[in-house]
Symmetry: C2
Subunit: 213 residues, 2 copies
């Protein structure tokens, strides 16, 4: 187990419905030393990429992205989530379906912060069905910038987001991939990332996601 | 002018209606080196306080708080904003009026992350009427923890939030206090913080803010 998997086993809580609570160290209270270890690990995994900007999405991605940005010496842009669009200026907007909240959200980035010269690392805390992430990828591509890679803290390997993104050819690095959880025993099964990927019976959740003009 | 005031003059944009846009370096795109300078300055100003936790509020406070936390070697807790309350577990909730969005928001922190042993530094990017900040103070006090101080990046000195919070006896440190702006000329007038405070004709905006049980 790596440092993040160890921390998940120590302080994560498995709840009914495949919910993994990591709010004591990652997405409500944040252990900044852990975030710094994660930033160093992202830098190691994307060392050969010419990254000049990190893109994340509010709210819980911001802390991870800012600490990671110190390892890359680049600025961070965070996409805003909104059910309505009322920001002024020219914006890239992607429509993203939220399965958790059963609604359509808009993911928004000001156009002036992404350009064809940008080489972007996308960072977020969780990857499940990948809808929000697909929205971020669309926005980067709309701007003409390059997605150099995607760094995720915790991927739910039993949902389809990771597989879809990898099948699209992106370098997706998840520091921990949870392949199964048991709410009764609290047991968490991590994917051994040293082995080649296997086909699995993942749930398909196709995102209805599109970039608006 | 200090480093933040210089940056505001260089890259901030004054808009009609006393709006100061700092989205190119502070609250949409974030200059991490600037955030690090701000963190060092907060540490200098609160050096004598036994701070063991930083509290902020999503979304744009999170980056500043996380980088500052490295200077204090403490964890960060970020309060969540929600129009509805649907988080599980025991929560501290404050009702906060948003003048910008003309609605009531709930500011929420899980009870397990604040206790009477905690000595809290509250950090946020902007202070105007101070409604959100008063909600955070209420939450800290509800938990029995101590507010050791409040660190703000940019205070709108012509609104009443800063005066109210200082009158309540809190050590409020704003790295830049904007006392006036001119959208036509783009000119920004900063308060000279080396001089004693003067009475000013600030607009009163009394927050309707209360902690829920």
């Amino acid at each position: 187990m790596n440092f993040l998997e160890e921390r998940i086993v120590k302080d994560g809580v498995v709840k009914e419905g495949n919910v993994l609570k990591v709010d004591s160290f990652l997405n409500h209270q944040m252990d900044i030393k852990l975030l710094d270890q994660m930033g160093a690990e992202f830098k190691r995994r994307f060392a050969d990429k010419p990254i000049n900007k990190i893109l994340t999405i509010e709210a819980s991605g911001i802390g991870i992205a800012c600490i990671a940005a110190q390892h890359f010496d680049v600025p961070v842009v965070f996409a805003k989530k909104s059910q309505s669009i009322n920001l002024d200026g020219d914006m890239y907007v992607a429509e993203v379906e939220s399965f958790t909240h059963k609604c359509i959200n808009h993911v928004i980035v000001a156009q002036k912060f992404l350009s064809p010269e940008d080489h972007v690392l996308i960072i977020d805390d969780f990857l499940a069905n990948g809808c929000a992430l697909q929205g971020l990828i669309q926005i980067v591509q709309s701007s003409g910038a390059t997605v150099e890679g995607i760094g995720i803290a915790i991927e739910k390997g039993f949902q389809s987001g990771g597989r879809i993104i990898r099948n699209l050819g992106f370098q997706l690095e998840s520091l921990a991939i949870v392949d199964g959880m048991n709410a009764e025993t609290g047991e968490i099964q991590f994917r051994d990332q040293s082995k080649p990927a296997e086909e699995s019976g993942q749930t398909e959740e196709i995102c209805r996601s599109s970039t608006l003009d």
